[in-house]
């Protein structure tokens, strides 16, 4: 038997007593832990008895960095947390500082923010779908998803020059006016997306192996979701209609007509269906926002130097992965006194053990995939 030096002492001590259990160290170098997550699995054959997540391999001290940067300087750093949904991260941070400053954002800036954030939600969900399917062994969807995601990234690139870590928003509104064909390209993308979603459904939803691999796997019911503080598609798949865009509208979301997709059992298949439907709803929002895009200024009344009055603000938004919160404290200087992030990936990952117990090794990768974590956000 190989030495179990990789397992922490308490796990080792437990396993030494019973030789039937196998401690398997999954990650940080593993094809399907979505980055540098390390999961220590305690196995009986192929059955999972318990899991232990080891995180921090990507810890960069983002929250501490904030204290040594001015409010504007810190904005690009938040893009590096959930780099798959950088626009949402930027929006949350900007809104928190704007709340401290108490400035009003012009309607045009609000609408463009909604469009870009929803596009980013689709891009994030596409990445989730591709990698999730890849984890379960379907190797084709990932390429199809990246084909559509490319179209979103092109819009970002045309808008602000960056594709991934966009830094699209500025405190007080927007830096750039939209480009000439922006509206047309957004609408074109929505058409494309609705058409391609059918393709994904054909490939996966009707596939019996896919359904068997996801139905009844990693069930997390509504009560557990609330206990663990799990948000986003996970809690909606468990039947709770909780979406911050509806519950506490921001950025003018109250003006748009869209549904919150929910499901009942809260298993992997339900989460899959919820996210698929969310992409449709995002397209709906984008269409409405583009059609009613108001004219006007794109930046509110903020000075060149941002120096919020002493105080604190907490703003949470509905990021693709769940509730993303920013708690910003100002002591009246140029730098934030403290920035604290409530990352959805980190909180949702907490439920991994609950979801994995009693399932099989193959389910663990499916469940990691269905939680949709980004390690940049888990570790910060």
């Amino acid at each position: 038997m190989a030495e179990t030096t990789l397992a922490p002492p308490e796990v080792q001590a437990e396993t030494l007593l019973d030789s039937n259990e196998l401690v398997l160290n999954m990650g940080p170098q593993h094809p399907s832990t979505h980055g540098v997550l390390r999961v220590i699995l305690k196995l009986d054959g192929e059955t999972v008895l318990g899991t232990d997540c080891v995180i921090g391999y990507l810890h960069r001290g983002v929250e501490k960095i904030a204290e040594n940067r001015t409010f504007q300087q810190f904005a690009p750093y938040v893009d590096r947390m959930d780099y798959v949904a950088a626009v949402s991260n930027g929006l949350g941070y900007c809104m928190a500082v704007e709340k401290l400053l108490d400035v009003e954002i012009p309607p045009r800036a609000q609408a463009v923010r909604v469009i870009l954030t929803e596009l980013n939600r689709i891009a994030s969900h596409l990445l989730w779908l591709g990698t999730h399917a890849l984890d379960i062994g379907a190797i084709t969807p990932v390429f199809l998803c990246f084909r559509e995601r490319e179209e979103v990234l092109k819009i970002f690139e045309n808008y602000c020059g960056a594709r991934l870590t966009t830094h699209a928003f500025r405190i007080g509104g927007l830096q750039y006016e939209t480009y000439d064909t922006f509206e047309k390209e957004c609408l074109k993308f929505c058409d494309l997306m609705e058409q391609k979603l059918k393709e994904y459904h054909d490939l996966l939803t009707g596939n019996r192996i896919w359904v068997r691999r996801t139905k009844g796997v990693g069930i997390l019911n509504a009560a557990d979701c609330k206990d663990y503080g799990v948000t986003g598609p996970l809690i909606r798949a468990a039947g709770v209609e909780w979406d911050l865009r509806k519950a506490q509208p921001y950025c003018g979301y109250e003006n748009y007509d869209f549904d919150i997709p929910t499901a009942e059992t809260g298993d992997t298949f339900d989460r899959y269906m919820v996210r698929m439907e969310e992409m449709v709803q995002s397209c709906r929002i984008i269409r409405q926002a583009v059609d009613g895009l108001p004219e006007g200024p794109i930046k509110g009344k903020v000075g060149k130097v941002i120096k919020p009055p002493p105080g604190e603000a907490y703003v949470s938004i509905e990021a693709p992965k769940g509730e993303l919160g920013y708690y910003v404290v100002s002591d009246g200087s140029l730098n934030p006194y403290r920035v604290r992030v409530r990352p959805p990936s980190f909180v949702n990952l907490g439920a991994l053990d609950k979801m994995c117990r009693g399932s099989l090794v193959a389910d663990v990768v499916a469940i990691i995939g269905t939680i949709d974590i980004v390690l940049g956000e888990v570790d910060r």
């Binding site: 084709t140 490939l203 192996i209 099989l360 193959a362």
Partner: protein
Amino acid sequence: MEQLLENPHVPPLILTAVIILVFPLIAGYIVLAERKVLADLQVRLGPMRVGPYGVLQPLADALKLMLKEDVIPSKSDKWIFWLAPVLSTFTALSAFAVLPLSDRFFVADVNIGILFILAMSSIGALGLILGGWSANSKYSLMGSLRAAAQMVSYEVPLGFATVTAIMCAGTLSMQGVIASQLERGVWGAFDNYGLMLIPTVLFIIAGTAETNRAPFDLPEAESELVAGFHTEYSGFRWALFFLAEYAAIVVISALCVTLFFGGWLRPFPNVAALEMPLNTLFPVALFALIALGCSKGIFRQALVGFRLVMAALTGLFLLVAAAFALPVANELMIGLFWFAFKLAAMVYLFIWYRGTFPRFRYDQLMDVGWKWLIPISMFGLILNGIVQLLARG
């Protein structure tokens, strides 16, 4: 020379040498074909760098694998670690001995040919199990345990499907099975009023599981077990496992083609009117089309060397097309052509569902094997037996 060729042992030996020398190259090109077909399914191009359109990629891969450092884990069971890939490759290549490549190209036509292939593919599983076990790695161990369970479960329906085909043909000899299909004037898959389709489908499913291909690729499940049983293998030992896997695919496909799709016979072998169009026109047109496709590449490539490669390929395929137009050469090659054509179709099918299906879970695999495939294959055997008894007396 004449005397040498008349010795009954010499032609099989020559053919054996040719198969052993040429098959690694063929396997390399099957890998390239797989990568290209998958790329086609997945809106990308596949290998494009080594040679024009990546046609020299297999050679580059082989060179790389041969030059790689040979790592043997320090805590592994070295002899078994060494033995396992050899065992897998040896058994997979041994099975080629009884494959009827055409009416005149085969190493041996023994009266237990089918049994020999099944035996070899079973022993080949031992290679995976030993390889995974000896590496002393947890991922490898789990991979080899899965391999063991899978082989045991799926050999049963595979066996039942084969038995049904043997019963229909009335012989265990590979050439004999083809001869019986010619005699009965129908492919094994459509015999017994179409009831033989049951074992045919089951054979393809169980055969996929037997060769560890997606969606039954659990022993190497990349996203779960990193690389399963060959996690600790690298360089040429890994290449041997790879070679064994592709050899196993070819063997299972060949067995399927022989048992159910007429082996080296052309479609409708008893309809004389189709002799000319199928045996001469079809191959000539096929290779001429391929040559035409290659000739376009001559003008599309920028590098002179790449243009030369495309020109050489064009010439080669034109030559093959011309050879099929010559009656003497045609007679020599047509059996091989149909066998290879059907084999290629089977291999395409294997690649196709790798690109389409997600992977089964371990318990679901057992479920499908024991609760569905085995009962259905038994039912198919009994049903075909009854029908055959009533129809043929």
